[in-house]
């Protein structure tokens, strides 16, 4: 067991190393010069432009050979330094990201976890119950097959424009400053609701359908039939079916949590919500490679941590993975 965990951990470490290296390399080998484009926006004299160019190149660490840049990158990364943002110069990338992350987490974590919990409970309950299966399930299918963008816009239009209950964009009201006041928190919640609800609904439909199908599959499996043949009540059979059907859903959840940030991209753009997804969009628009690199770094870390945790959980709940690492005994 210990050897298994150590081996897994090393694999994840290696994956991290390569992923981060690629994350470093891609912006650098892309066409375009971030410093140049930043200066061109400032429309300076040619001489002072050259001086400025040298100054910024130096402050971004771009004036040393590429291998040195790579080593420096790892060196500062390990100290938690992600460089300086070009778009919001001279703010450090780490603080720009730190400001955005709470929004993304507060939006995505409840949406993913609650829709997972509610969808699975509902799907498991609906499976093999005729009236529910026939009435509620079509709605789940509609929710699930609707393009997310469209659902988001529909919700925004209905609850935001027509009924005017919720604001359409932003993380809080325009006139407000972030502070611990009732007014500010109320505004936060109001702005949070629409993006949350859209994410929740889509997730709910998908989980409910998946769970229903998994449960039906389990109820048709041999072990369910055997339990029936031995007179076991439906309660026990459904309990087993639920437990087994949960395994793939746990993996699904892990993958969702892993791509939480990427998943936020569309939502945050539709609702102009100030999280990491929005930041990625801004970073691309402003050719801010350091910010982009920093944001992707967080995605990498998120995916890896989530997968690692799920690997561990799976070993604990599913005996079939356990035999794989011990070698089958018969």
């Amino acid at each position: 067991m210990r050897r298994y965990f150590t081996r897994k951990f090393l694999i994840y470490l290696l994956t991290f190393f390569f992923a981060v290296s690629i994350d470093w390399a891609i912006p650098r080998f892309m066409p375009g010069d971030p410093v140049q484009s930043m200066l061109s926006r400032a429309a300076l004299h040619p001489e002072s432009a050259t001086a400025m160019y040298d100054y910024y190149s130096n402050s971004f660490g771009l004036d040393v050979p590429i291998w040195r840049q790579y080593l420096n990158f790892w060196g500062s990364l390990l100290q938690g330094d992600l460089g300086t943002s070009v778009w919001l110069y001279p703010q450090p990338v780490s603080s720009v990201i730190a400001n955005a992350i709470p929004y993304t987490l507060a939006l995505m974590l409840p949406a993913i976890l609650l829709s997972w919990w509610a969808g699975n409970s509902f799907g498991a309950f609906a499976a093999r119950r005729k009236w529910l299966d026939n009435t509620a399930l079509p709605f789940a299918y509609i929710l699930n097959s609707m393009p997310y963008m469209w659902l988001g816009i529909l919700l925004a239009w209905l609850l935001g424009s027509v009924l005017d209950i919720f604001p359409l964009s932003g993380g809080y009201g325009y006139g407000l400053q972030p502070e611990w006041s009732l007014e500010f928190i109320g505004s936060l919640l109001k702005h949070w609701f629409l993006p949350f609800a859209s994410l929740f609904l889509v997730g709910f439909g998908g989980w409910a359908i998946g769970m229903r199908n998994l449960i039906i599959y389990e109820l048709e499996s041999d072990y369910s039939h055997y339990l029936t043949a031995l007179g076991a009540p439906q309660r026990l059979i459904r309990r087993y079916a639920f437990r087994n059907a949960m395994l793939p859903q746990v993996t699904g959840l892990a993958l969702q949590i892993g791509v939480i940030v990427a998943g936020a991209l569309v939502t945050e753009i539709v609702f102009s919500y100030p999280g990491l997804g929005n930041l990625i969009l801004q970073a691309i628009n402003n050719e801010d490679y350091f910010l982009l690199q920093g944001a992707f770094l967080f995605i990498i870390i998120g995916v890896l941590i989530a997968n690692f945790v799920i690997d561990m959980v799976y070993v604990l709940v599913d005996p079939r993975t356990r035999t794989g690492m011990r070698g089958a005994t018969s």
Partner: protein, 315 residues
Amino acid sequence: MSVQVKDLKVYYRTLRGDVRALDGASFTIADGEIMGLAGESGCGKSTLGRSLIAIDGRMRYVGGSVSLDGAALPLDDQAAMARHRFTAVSLVPQYAMSAMNPTRKIGKLVTDLLRSRGIAPDTVLGEFRRRLELVGLSTDVLARYPIELSGGMKQRVVMVISTLLDPSLLVADEITSALDVSTQKAVAEAVVEFRDRGFVASTIVITHDLSILVQMADSIMIMYAGKPVERASTDAVVSSSRHPYTRLLLSSLPEVGVRYEEHRLSGIAGRPPSLLNPPPGCRFRDRCPLAFAKCAEEPPFVEVAPGHSAACWKA
């Protein structure tokens, strides 16, 4: 007279109409008797076995009765039937390899099952361990998951679970088909041993392998196209069978140990009739070498010698 089946009819509902897979079966099995059930693939052996345990949604109970030690089984009421399963009637399924929940340890599974049936696990777990040892398994299997066992081990565990509450009737469907020859023998011996020790009263062993029935069964019933055609002691079936189908079946067995399923009954030309709309008269008529005019009428299943019944005008 432990198990008494009278004119049992169970059909499958399909879009094209009822498949008359079990179209009137009457027989009795005595206490302590092991009855072998044989016949070509699709003749309704499993349907008969299944009907005695649970008639599910795809099946339709059409008529007939089954009584166990004199009391009728509520065949058409699945909720009432559930109380008799495991305790009075039990099944060792054809799919024993996958019959146990893969994510539950075997000991836990049995405890869950017993509790769900309102039986305190402590009262029978000791016996469960003893019986595992009896079939040559260590009690370690209680702490194992099903995938950690070999096929033969799973087969034996399932057998011990199914018979744990000493049922009056055990249906064992194709329990040896998936096993190699030496394991087959061990499983067949276990069935006999369980009977000898009184763990089960009457047993129905369904199989494709007549040679295994010769080793273990006290009596044999042959089915053809949804109906029993002959029923007698094993010796009588082997040495003095009266029904032409049984005789062809035996003669088409090339040698002991080879399953006739794989040989597609080279000795008997033609195929069994469709059970969707079976023809009137003797259902074996098209293929029977002895068929004559009277066979257009259905032959009754009657005693042709003491303890020996057959359904044939020429028997």
